[in-house]
Subunit: 178 residues, 2 copies
C-alpha cells in the first residue's frame, strides 16, 4: 500500500480514507479497467454509419486499441483473473459489461449469418469463440511481449471471421511469417 501510494504521489492516509481498504481499491481498479474497455467498444459500436460486420470488427479492434491493450493493463487484468479466492466478487463487478458485449456480438453475428450463407455454425458459437479469442490472445501478448503486436493479434481474429463469414469479412494479407 505505501509503495503504491508513494508512486501515486499520495499519502497512505488519504488513499485509505477514500478507498476504505486495499480490497476496495482493487475493486475500483477493476471497475476502472472494465469501464474504460466498455466505453472503447461501445463508442465504436454506437457509430450509426457502420454495417454489422464493421461494427463487429470495431468491437474486435477495441480490444487491441493502443490505449486498452498495453502490457501493464493486460498484467492487471490477468492478476484479477488469477485471484481464485475472489473470482465471484470480481466476476460480479464486470458480469454486466461482459454479458452486454456478448449479446451485442451475438446479435451482430445473427444479422450477418442471416444475410450471408453460413448456417452450419450458430451465432452463439461464433460469439463464444470470439470472447475466448479476446482473452486467449491477450494472454499470448502478455506471455510473449517480445513479439507484442496488436496488429497481428487483430489479424488472427479477422482471419477467423473471414473463414466463418467469407462474404462479409476479408482475409487479412499475411505477407510475412508469424
Amino acid at each position: 500500500m505505501s509503495t503504491v501510494t508513494e508512486i501515486a504521489g499520495l499519502s497512505l492516509g488519504i488513499v485509505n480514507f477514500h478507498f476504505k481498504s486495499k480490497q476496495k481499491l482493487l475493486e475500483e481498479t477493476l471497475l476502472f479497467l472494465a469501464n474504460e474497455h466498455h466505453e472503447q467498444w461501445l463508442e465504436a459500436f454506437d457509430n450509426a454509419g457502420l454495417s454489422a460486420p464493421e461494427k463487429l470488427l470495431a468491437i474486435v479492434d477495441a480490444h487491441f486499441h493502443p490505449h486498452i491493450c498495453t502490457p501493464k493493463k493486460l498484467a492487471v487484468w490477468f492478476a484479477f483473473f488469477g485471484e481464485a479466492g475472489r473470482r465471484q466478487v470480481y466476476r460480479n463487478l464486470i458480469n454486466g459489461i461482459d454479458q452486454e458485449r456478448y449479446n451485442i456480438a451475438l446479435r451482430l453475428c445473427s444479422e450477418i449469418s442471416e444475410d450471408g450463407g453460413c448456417d452450419d455454425i450458430p451465432p452463439t458459437q461464433v460469439a463464444n469463440i470470439l470472447e475466448a479469442l479476446y482473452d486467449g490472445i491477450w494472454l499470448e501478448l502478455l506471455t510473449y511481449p517480445e513479439n507484442f503486436q496488436r496488429s497481428v493479434a487483430r489479424d488472427h481474429i479477422s482471419a477467423f471471421l473471414s473463414k466463418v463469414y467469407p462474404d462479409h469479412f476479408q482475409m487479412p494479407a499475411f505477407n510475412n511469417s508469424d
Copy 2:
C-alpha cells in the same frame, strides 16, 4: 504453508526440507501440471495410427480431458499466469513444452493445408489461434463454471478447424442452444 502441508497430511518441516522454499514448491507444482498436460497430448500425438487431422484433434482433446481440465487445475494455471512478478520464471519453466506443442501443431497444419485446399490462411496463424483458443476457452470455463462443459469447449475448437480445413474436419452438430 502450514495450511497446505496439513491438507497434504505432511509436516511443515518435511515439506520445507524437500522443496527448500515456498517458491520452489510453486515451481514444482507448475512443472507437475505442465508435464501432466504434456504427457496427455504427446501420448495422443504419438499414436501412429492417426492421420494428421486426427492427431491435431487429439491434441485439442487433451486440453479438455477430464483429468486435465478440472476447475481446480484451471484455477492453478491461471494463478500462475496472473503472477506478474514471476512471469519470466514461470515462462522459462514451461516454454519448452509450449514451443514443442506449437511446432507440432504447426507441422500438422502445414500437412493438412498442403493436402487440402485452404491456402489463404497460413498454418502459423492457425497454430497461433489454436494456442489462444486453448487458454481463452480455459478461462471461460474457469469464469463460468455453472456451464462448465468440456464437450462444448471442444466443439468450439473443432468448429473452428472445420471452417479452416473443411475437407479434413467435420462441423460438430450443434443441436441445442449455447
